[in-house]
């Protein structure tokens, strides 16, 4: 009996030692900040100045803050327009590459390469391409005598530009995920269906699609979560404009915290962002991973 107690004590100690470094870092820098932010959201005051307890004021302000709703709406808008596009394109590219025709491995490299660039490099290139009057496309259209297309000059075009840049940058990542999923499907299933006389489309619809359900779910979840965190592209390419029409939520949080120095309100909006992402992740998990 004493041996088992000693043994269990020893295992507990071992567990603690192995877990401790991870947990300390994790709790300190990931879990604690959430609570700290939550507490801060009940205060008001300038960074470094005196903090006043204001209860739910920050939250009630948020409800009537048009800028909050517009940046929240902007974020949702981006998720809605980008997720289907990037997921479907990723799938199409993966199918293309998977056909193993001549030169498809080159294609794989080509489509994936932009993902290796840092967001700043990507933003800089696309800004220079899309800029009005002095951008690459603008110069080309002018030299061809065409009317200038304003890429960054309106709400709709601004988002379109962000979408194009984002697709170029990240579609390769989804393509790889889909590729992996495609390559998991055993060849014999296809062969069996060939024997049954199934055509290309049937094969795709009845074999490929169902087998890819898991991967597709994953891609959708990852893509929408990362769209929620949109910051770099709008910061660098449209600078949130014109006006505030391409300002997503994270960008607005930055403005509140580091231009207005209102850490309390910024914490409140951050907390709402956290809840929203958590909520959506949970729902998507449950719904898409039903099997």
């Amino acid at each position: 009996m004493k041996l088992t107690r000693l043994r269990s004590y020893k295992t507990l100690m071992a567990a603690l030692i192995f877990l401790a470094p991870f947990m300390i870092l994790y709790v300190w820098f990931w879990i604690y900040p959430i609570f700290k932010g939550f507490i801060s959201s009940f205060n008001s005051g300038i960074f470094g100045g005196v903090q006043k307890f204001v209860g739910l004021d920050n939250y009630s302000f948020m409800i009537s803050d048009p800028k909050f709703w517009s940046s929240f709406g902007n974020t949702i808008y981006f998720i809605v327009i980008s997720t289907p596009a990037i997921v479907v394109l990723g799938l199409i590219l993966a199918l293309l590459v998977n056909m193993k025709l001549k030169g498809t491995t080159i294609l794989r490299t080509v489509y994936f390469m932009p993902f290796m660039l840092s967001v700043s490099v990507m933003g800089s290139i696309w800004l220079f391409i899309l800029q009005s009057r002095t951008g690459l496309i603008s110069e080309i259209t002018r030299s061809l005598g065409m009317k200038e297309i304003s890429f960054l000059g309106s709400w709709e075009m601004g988002w379109m530009s962000i979408l194009i840049a984002t697709i170029w940058w990240t579609v390769g990542f989804n393509m790889i995920l889909f590729l992996a999923g495609l390559q998991e499907i055993p060849e014999d299933i296809y062969e069996a269906s060939d024997i049954d006389g199934a055509g290309g489309w049937k094969k795709f619809w009845y074999i490929t699609m169902p087998s890819l359900k898991g991967v597709t779910a994953l891609v959708i979840i990852l893509q929408s979560i990362s769209s929620f965190k949109l910051f770099g592209q709008t910061w660098l390419i449209t600078k949130g404009g014109p006006g505030t029409t391409t300002t997503p939520l994270v960008h607005y949080i930055y403005q509140i915290a580091f231009r207005q120095w209102d850490m309390g309100y910024a914490s409140a909006v951050s907390f709402v962002l956290f809840l929203t992402i958590a909520f959506i992740s949970l729902i998507q998990f449950k719904f898409l991973m039903k099997d």
């Binding site: 567990a15 991870f22 900040p33 840092s118 696309w126 220079f128 603008s138 170029w168 958590a278």
Partner: protein
């Protein structure tokens, strides 16, 4: 698809201030390394070498710490029986849903209180993707054949020895896969380093590159040169380790 990159590279080799948006000018000589020289000359607000060093340093350290610590934690949760294991597991899983963007404000206040603003500490300790690494490594360790560990235990190996001689060597491929993923995400971090790196010397590459777009705009050659230089390490690594990187991402997907 590659056109933007081609344009970037061509522009980088033009003289500073040249109109690289006019295709005629772009493909005709002169070509020069002048823009690169401009970019690499360190002055008060441009320090490419230092920024690259910072990005590499922070990337490697974060990756190393994340992998080792997650490997330990994954081993503990996977193989060591202890009370409260499910709680710990749930807590870590929950963390997967916390995006860094939603905690930058309290994190910033914490870092300011610690006096860590503008230091390597501020760049390194927050933001490590611990839950993700944990999950992937745990899955891997779960799949290891029990007999292997049983045999070791019978031979008298303690918990640590098992980790060191069996788990650690065997996990190398999954650690490499996760490691690549984590390194790329650390390399690419923009928001957080932007907030805490307040001296030019502490900036990382993503934070420093936009400074080349001077307010006076349309000197495109110099910013493009900086873009090329910033992308070189990543692209070289990619071309060399393409297979591993792609394998890594695939594995992360099949979790």
């Amino acid at each position: 698809m590659l056109l933007p990159l081609v344009w970037m590279v061509l522009s980088a080799f033009k003289e500073p201030g040249s109109t690289v948006t006019v295709v005629k000018n772009l493909i005709a000589p002169p070509f020069t390394l002048e823009s690169f020289a401009r970019v690499l000359k360190p002055d008060g607000t441009a320090m490419m070498w230092r920024w690259t060093l910072n990005s590499v340093l922070v990337g490697i350290v974060q990756t190393a710490i994340t992998i080792v610590l997650s490997s330990w934690a994954a081993y503990a949760v996977s193989r060591i029986p202890f009370k409260g294991k499910t709680f710990v597991f749930a807590l870590i899983l929950a963390g997967m849903m916390v995006p860094m963007e939603s905690i930058v404000v309290p994190l910033f206040e914490m870092i300011a209180d610690l006096g860590w603003v503008n230091s390597y500490n501020a760049l390194i300790w927050p933001g490590m993707m611990l839950p993700l690494a944990f999950l992937i490594l745990k899955q891997f360790i779960d799949q290891l054949p029990n007999e292997l560990l049983e045999a070791a235990r019978i031979d008298g190996a303690g918990t640590f020895r098992i980790w060191w001689s069996i788990i650690w060597p065997l996990s190398t491929s999954s650690m490499a896969a996760v490691g690549i993923f984590i390194f790329i995400s650390s390399w690419n971090n923009l928001l957080w380093p932007m907030l805490v790196a307040q001296e030019t010397s502490m900036m990382t590459l993503p934070v420093g590159i936009p400074t080349f777009q001077s307010t006076f705009a349309t000197d495109l050659a110099v910013p493009m040169a900086s873009n090329v230089l910033a992308s070189l390490p990543a692209l070289i690594v990619f071309l060399l380790f393409q297979r591993n990187i792609i394998k890594g991402i695939s594995m992360t997907g099949i979790k």
